[in-house]
């Protein structure tokens, strides 16, 4: 019951946060609350045994989306203009939808019951067989990368699309290369402590990223989380030392290249199976011993995911920062 108590209270916290967001006019505060919301939901996921999801939510919700929102705020304005009309229609729509959902819950399989149909059919197979099939302890990884690997390819392509989209939308009006020392805002570069600490931190972050990348088989983690962590290192570097310095480390052209590369690595893994007469993404084509084959396949795929995710996130962040540079110039 204590566990139940914990997760109920988390849910209540979530509700409070959201209600606060509804009322709040200060967008900065809204963003902060949103990251708190993500943090809480991450905790909730942990309570619900979804460690991988929690990990990802933490990385994405608290890290990336907050970062992006903040930089957008920096480019737009902080306070929302209060509007007079109370939207009755919206309220009505929302309430009807809610009512519908609640109506739906009335005959749902009870929460947490092991006998619910959701846990019988396919899930049961995964729990019993996945280790024997793939030799991967972390079922989430095995399902993600092997059983439903194709979904992951799709997911990767979604990120890729987003990256391309951001690139297409936020291009420079002046097509000259970004190398204007003064305009690029790197105010933190002045703080010695920050510089030293971040310089010390970055290698560890990168190492941790690699650990997460390759440890996915045994514990929570995997290509996506690793990619996010990896990118966070670069992001930190950019924030502290400014865009120019970061661009010296890795240029847009390279980022584009890597973004494409990751997807292609994933694709190539699948096509490898194709050329050897097996179905797309059938890792058994990679080696005789099925377990090793699965391991190898998952490894390759995860690497692909990691590369693209890292590249795209850096790409998006940098294009946002570059816009700041534009505004600073303007």
């Amino acid at each position: 019951m204590s566990l139940a108590f914990i997760h109920i209270s988390i849910l209540c916290f979530l509700l409070v946060t959201v209600l606060a967001i509804v009322r709040m006019r200060d967008l900065l505060a809204v963003v902060m609350l949103l990251s708190i919301y993500s943090l809480l939901s991450a905790c909730f996921f942990v309570v619900m045994d979804a460690v991988d999801v929690a990990f990802t939510e933490a990385a994405v919700g608290i890290g990336i989306s907050t970062l992006l929102l903040l930089s957008t705020l920096a480019l737009t304005k902080r306070f929302e203009r209060p509007h007079r009309t109370e939207p009755v229609l919206a309220l009505f729509l929302v309430l009807t939808t809610g009512a519908l959902l609640v109506y739906g819950t009335l005959q749902m399989p009870p929460f947490g019951s092991a006998s619910a149909p959701a846990h019988q059919h396919v899930a049961a197979y995964y729990i019993e067989q996945s280790f024997l099939d793939t030799g991967i302890a972390n079922m989430v990884t095995s399902v993600l990368a092997s059983y439903r690997g194709y979904d992951t390819l799709g997911e990767l392509m979604v990120i890729f699309t987003a990256g391309i989209g951001v690139l297409a939308l936020l291009e420079l009006k002046t097509d000259t290369k970004v190398s204007r020392k003064t305009e690029i805002p790197a105010p933190m570069a002045a703080h010695h402590i920050l510089r030293i600490v971040s310089k010390m931190l970055i290698p560890f972050i990168l190492m941790f990223a690699l650990y997460v990348q390759f440890h996915g088989d045994f514990g929570p983690g995997g290509g996506f989380q690793a990619g996010v962590i990896f990118s966070s290192a670069i992001v930190l570097y950019t924030m502290v030392f400014g865009l120019d310095a970061a661009l010296k480390v890795i240029s847009f052209a390279w980022l584009r290249f890597f973004a494409a590369l990751g997807g292609l690595v994933f694709g190539a893994t699948g096509v490898l199976a194709l050329v050897s007469g097996k179905n797309f993404l059938d890792y058994h084509a990679l080696a005789e011993d099925p377990i090793r084959a699965q391991h190898l396949g998952v490894l390759l795929v995860e690497v692909g995911v990691g590369i693209t995710v890292a590249a795209v996130i850096i790409l998006v962040f940098m294009s946002f920062t570059r816009q700041m540079a534009e505004n600073g110039k303007a």
């Binding site: 194709y150 391309i164 690139l167 297409a168 973004a259 997807g263 797309f280």
Partner: protein
Amino acid sequence: MNSQLPILLVIVPLLAAPLCLFIKKPTLVWLFASIVSVLALLFSLIILSQVWETGELVYSLGGWQAPIGIEYRIDLLNAYLSVIVAALACICLLAAYKSIGEEIKKGKQTLFYVTFLLCLAGMLGVVVTGDVFNLFVFMEIAALSSYVLIAMGKNRKALIASLTYLLVGTLGATFILIGIGLVYMLTGSLNMQDLSVLLLSAPQSNTLFTAFTFFFVGTCLKLALFPLHWWLPNAYTYAPSIVSVFLAATATKIAIYILLRVIFSLFGSEFSYHTLPLQNILMTLGLAGILVCSVIAIFQQDLKQIFAYSSVAQVAYMMLALGMNNISGLMATLLHLFNHALMKGALFLALACIMYRLKSVQLSDIAGLGWQMPWTMAAIVIAGFSLIGLPLTVGFISKWYMLLASFENAWQPIALVILFGSLLAAVYIWRIVEKAYFSPLTTNNQHIKEAPLALLVPTWLLVLANLYFGIDTRFSLSISLHTAQMLLGVAP
């Protein structure tokens, strides 16, 4: 090789997209993309013929048997849709060379083609997959890429349109996601084939009802069924011309396909039509949509707006026919999927021609162009006739089946409304014709020349298709008949 076709159909464009980034010159990228789309069309045609001969194809990805893994399960409906999408993509890319070269600046053209291929891959992925969650993922690929494509429009309104579309589209997708969740909760499976069996045996529960409703509302948001259509007109209007062509011809069709799957494959027509009042809902919304949107279209000044609203009206037609819940009605829907793609493709391509020469598609600006750009305007006229539903065009065939369906249900008044709707279409086509042919040539249109062949050829390909498939209807009729029988579970 042949056994791999289903997956090749999707991954060829999907993986071609990142490859484009390694090509320097936009022209080469265009060439590459066109080749890819032609390949896709080829695959889809072969698949269609295979399905026609041997029945549905099954392809389990990763070698994992469904429902453990994801599978592609292609029956006539999937194949039919994939052909439509791939064919339109080919035509669009053919026309893109000139039009995009004109409307999008050099630096971005490569990105455009990448996004276009992603959009194509996403749509094909949606069409062929046999797994609901996989469907969601690929739907998102298609959706995200189409937001980007729309936002590439010159006018700043394109940005707003794109964002609105993004919000609505994501809302719809999330609704569908909720639906998927509920369905999974009830059955523990994500495979459509599996679900269709399990859901039939599943007890009638609120949850089932809620699940259906979320699927339905989500798809209706995406297919712009009448009251949920507000995002569509601007999206089509301010997008680059080619994008308007592609989306107008395919995007809503994909959503309709999803709806068909949900109604007939997942929940079964028995549940949808008899347990739920789906029939009345579709009929009411359909009728309202036809009348309201046709009337709105009449009062537009921007040609793209006119045809965008007419698209909403045409979607309403399909929903109306779907609401008839008989073979002829379903056939009409399926026929119109194809026919409407042809009409709207031709019309928006013609607009692309005008855009290329005039840099505008305002009704007031095309005065007297009938004699300056004879071929383009003739294309608009013929495709317009098809939209009205005059005989010997594809429009007539689908109209005919809609009328038949309403007679079979003894709903003659509705038949009257359908015909009245096509008269409204006649009115807005007529405004264009009169402007183009019977109003004096404005001074700044004096020097306007006919559009380049690179644009005219694809336009007229579609126009001729409008006539050809209106006269020789064996292809579309036989396929839609068999598909309808399959969906309704009637023995052929």
